[in-house]
């Protein structure tokens, strides 16, 4: 299907006159062959060259050196261009930026129209393709009304309708929530299993590739590891060095093995791990496990009746309705009450549309409640005498993809924007910007670079510094890790944790990923359908597995492993949230 030989791709940086000022080698002497009907996965973090490689497969980019053959056709031959693009379909990362038409069915028809397919056949292809990804019922809908996962499935259908032999998916899940990610991966696998189409999946999530026939791991433009998922996943340390997120089942198995349990190499899924553990002799009395977090219930909420002074935020019976009073009224929040003490690190969890974004926008007055109110430091922020400027300096809000709001010529000036708006004098403004940039890990040298020349993770740091420079008492971050690779994600979360420790700020971290926040926060608030569903420490929350699943949320993989083992009579403590806890509990059973 594909035959890539010694392929090199170089990006040229040019100055304003067009002279080459620098060369970046994105792909460095890569050779690989893909057989028809295979499911291939390419892993690597951002900047590893995997997307550049993918763009060669349908001749969007051409190799600087070496050759790329697609189904026997050299991508450098111009007269084969359309044939190659028809052979290899491509699905991109951003669900909004690849749908052309205003109705789902018309978008699926776009490719066949370009190929000059007769009208009747276009309709037939549209029907087949949308059915293959399970989106046929949505064919009359506007793409703007679909979820991210649904949009990506429409994009896959759009490619499928061109009858390709191969589909390349370039990080199709990077911008989706867990539910959307599952949808897309399921659709991709169905194409491979049912339609026999060669699939190449490019991703930075390892758990998405466990069903692949062959996995390549890229770093710095080179293929550094390859093999079956089992072979690749057994090299846990190497993978961690590359900062890839190894599935928790694999990590747990690795840890247990190092502690002396006789487990085989390359365990990929929780089912496998549970099966293997069942075979081992264990003391299943049920009480051997050391108590986990859940056995020491922490009630982070202080008893009622205390003075308001200790509470950073009190949300009092808050309700919000969009387009209130019209036929299109949507209830986003209904009767939410929460008390958040000063200095607490809270994880606010809920799937898309659960009301979490609406809730945080009330906390700094961007939205006004339909009913109820919010007290910050004991003051009603919706009182008409309350100064909004003061509120904005107290409650900092970092939106999703905050780097999209950068606008100044250099990093430093951009960070100054917030404090300047507070009306501080120039000296204070600059001091604050300096401190904030230092806190997010910038050196003095990079203060005067244009924010648009930075990498994704660095831009996000600048944007966070922009809010930090306003010195808020409360910092709210909406999905601060969205779209980042595992490496970037861990760095940002570590940074936030560190900030919270150093400054004693109250931090509210909004996320749809339980796994991400479990290790960082003191308390988790779960939102569902506009109200608070669960509220407590991570250990407590994760004992409610079935309720969380109903709300469209997944608990960390280890929690599932422990639950599955308990079904087999292991008697481990409930509410285990980290790999270390799980490993310790299992080892206690084996007497090791």
């Amino acid at each position: 299907m594909f035959d890539i030989k010694n392929m090199v791709h170089e990006y040229f940086r040019r100055d304003e006159e067009g002279n080459v000022t620098g060369i970046t080698t994105a792909v460095d002497k890569v050779s690989l062959q893909v057989a028809p009907g295979d499911f291939i996965a390419i892993l690597g973090h951002n900047g590893s060259g995997k997307s550049t490689l993918a763009k060669h497969l349908n001749a969007i980019l051409y190799p600087s050196e070496g050759t790329v053959l697609v189904d026997g056709m050299d991508t450098k031959e111009e007269d084969k261009l359309m044939k190659i693009r028809q052979t290899t379909g491509m699905v991109f990362q951003n669900p909004d930026n690849q749908i052309i038409a205003q109705v789902v069915e018309e978008d699926v028809g776009f490719g066949p129209e370009n190929l000059g397919v007769p009208t009747e056949e276009i309709w037939q292809r549209m029907e087949e393709s949308l059915k293959a990804v399970g989106m046929y019922e949505y064919r009359k809908k506007s793409p703007n009304r679909l979820s991210g996962g649904q949009k990506q499935r429409v994009s896959i259908a759009g490619v499928l309708a061109m009858h390709p032999k191969c589909i390349v998916l370039d990080e199709p899940t990077a911008m989706l929530d867990p539910g959307g990610r599952r949808e897309v991966i399921r659709a991709a696998r169905a194409l491979n299993d049912v339609e026999g189409i060669t699939v190449m999946l490019i991703t930075h999530y390892m758990e998405e590739v466990i069903h692949a026939d062959h996995v390549y791991v890229m770093d710095h433009g080179k293929v550094v590891m390859e093999g079956t998922p089992k072979e690749v996943f057994s090299r846990v340390e190497e993978l961690q060095k590359l900062r890839l997120s190894v599935p928790q089942s694999t990590l747990l198995a690795d840890r247990l093995k190092k502690a002396g349990l006789p487990l085989p190499d390359g365990i990929l899924s929780r089912k496998e791990l549970v099966e293997e553990l069942k075979k081992l002799p264990m003391n299943r009395s049920g009480k051997a496990g050391r108590p986990g977090k859940a056995n020491s219930p922490e009630k982070p909420l202080s008893p009622e009746g205390e003075t308001d002074q200790k509470h950073a935020i009190i949300i009092d019976h808050l309700s919000h309705e969009y387009e209130s009073g019209t036929a299109m009224a949507v209830k986003a929040l209904s009767d939410v009450s929460l008390t958040i003490p000063k200095g607490q690190f809270v994880g606010l969890i809920g799937h898309t549309g659960s009301g979490k974004s609406s809730l945080i926008q009330h906390l700094n007055g961007l939205l006004k409640p339909t009913e109820g109110t919010v007290y910050i430091d004991g003051e009603d922020i919706f009182d008409k005498d309350y100064d909004l400027k003061k509120l904005r300096s107290r409650v900092g809000l970092v939106f999703q993809y905050p780097e999209h709001q950068l606008f100044e010529v250099d990093v430093f000036t951009d960070v100054c924007f917030g404090p300047k708006n507070l009306g501080l004098d120039q000296k204070e403004v600059e001091l604050r910007a300096y401190e904030a940039l230092k806190k997010v890990g910038f050196d003095d040298d990079s203060f005067y670079v244009s924010p648009f020349d930075l990498s994704g993770g660095q831009k996000r740091r600048v944007a966070i510094a922009g809010v930090l420079a306003m010195k808020p008492d409360v910092m709210i971050l909406d999905e601060p890790t969205a779209g980042l690779d595992p490496k970037g994600r861990d760095e940002i979360l570590d940074l936030i944790k560190q900030m919270q420790k150093e400054t004693g700020m109250t931090v509210i971290l909004v996320s749809h990923s339980m796994e991400d926040v479990a290790n960082y926060v003191d308390r988790i608030v779960v939102m569902n359908k506009g109200s608070v569903m669960l509220d407590g420490s991570p250990g407590e929350i994760f004992t409610h597995v079935s309720e969380l699943e109903e709300a469209g949320l997944a608990v960390p993989e280890v929690t599932y492993i422990v639950r599955d083992l308990n079904k087999e009579g292991f008697g481990l403590p409930e509410g285990v949230t980290t790999i270390k806890e799980a490993a310790d509990a299992i080892l206690a059973l084996t007497g090791g």
């Binding site: 359309m82 991109f92 951003n94 205003q102 961007l366 809000l397 999209h404 606008f407």
Partner: protein, 266 residues
């Protein structure tokens, strides 16, 4: 806040007018607007009014939906009416201070208001019964002869339909950026004009960047799906005239004839 702008958006229902070929509707709307300005007499206006009323009834679109389009231009209408009313020279029928109202002024004001109302109702009826995609298709097809003299008809139609697809997305994006900058203490409402224009910079720069980023992505996605311009493309939904479209054209001819008759003879 910004998302609630809706003027003449497609209203989904099933009616004769909805099923008509968009080319018929486009031609009819243009001819209708011309017919409003051909003559100026109560008779022609009566014919035009009745014609539109019948169309509105046929369209099955609720009346308040159609009238909503008028809200946007109420100020303009009042302004033109006032200008006509007070500044038209002619036979004075009423004076108050320096304000003089003439007979001709009243007539002109009434006619102008009537024309504007009919014009807006007529064109919003078209957009209410025709999807933007159909409209661009119709435009592409009607203007197709112009390609012979080198006009980029397909490209313009494609640009229009992409613009329509991305307007809601960019509006949402604007909303988000405004909120984000407001959270950083930006103030868009106070200060003088100069101040306010300056305060738009933190919104416009990110917005343009976002638009360029999207345009780049979209161009790549279109190329990857073998888009090469209009040549050699087939249509998923080709426009084909049906019997009812011929009937509609005949009715249109009858209407124009009646307008001319009413204008000339009466």
């Amino acid at each position: 806040m910004i998302r609630e702008i809706t003027i003449g958006q497609y209203y989904q229902t099933d009616s004769v007018l909805h099923r008509l070929d968009p080319r018929v509707k486009l031609v009819a709307t243009i001819l209708y607007i011309i017919s409003l300005f051909l003559y100026r007499s109560p008779q022609t206006f009566a014919v035009a009014g009745v014609f539109l009323a019948v169309c509105i009834i046929l369209s099955k679109v609720p009346f308040h939906y159609i009238v909503r389009g008028l809200k946007a231009v109420v100020i303009l209408m009042l302004f033109t009416a006032a200008m006509n009313l007070f500044f038209m020279p002619g036979k004075v029928i009423f004076t108050y201070g320096i304000l003089k109202i003439t007979k001709e002024g009243v007539e002109a004001a009434v006619y102008m208001a009537f024309r504007l109302v009919m014009l807006i109702l007529g064109s919003s009826l078209m957009t209410l019964t025709t999807t933007p995609t159909q409209l661009t298709d119709a435009m592409e097809k009607l203007l197709w002869p112009l390609t012979k003299i080198g006009a980029p008809v397909h490209e313009v139609a494609m640009m229009m339909s992409i613009a329509l697809r991305f307007i809601p997305i960019l509006l949402e994006e604007t909303d988000k950026i405004m909120k984000a900058q407001a959270a950083r203490g930006a103030d868009f409402e106070s200060g003088n004009v100069f101040h306010r224009v300056r305060s738009m910079v933190p919104i416009l720069v990110p917005l343009f960047l976002a638009a360029f980023r999207r345009a780049g992505d979209l161009a790549m996605a279109m190329e990857a799906r073998c888009y090469q311009g209009g040549e050699g493309r087939t249509k998923m939904k080709p426009l084909r005239y049906a019997m009812r479209d011929t009937v509609a054209y005949l009715i249109l001819i009858a209407y124009i004839t009646m307008i001319v008759l009413a204008g000339k003879l009466l």
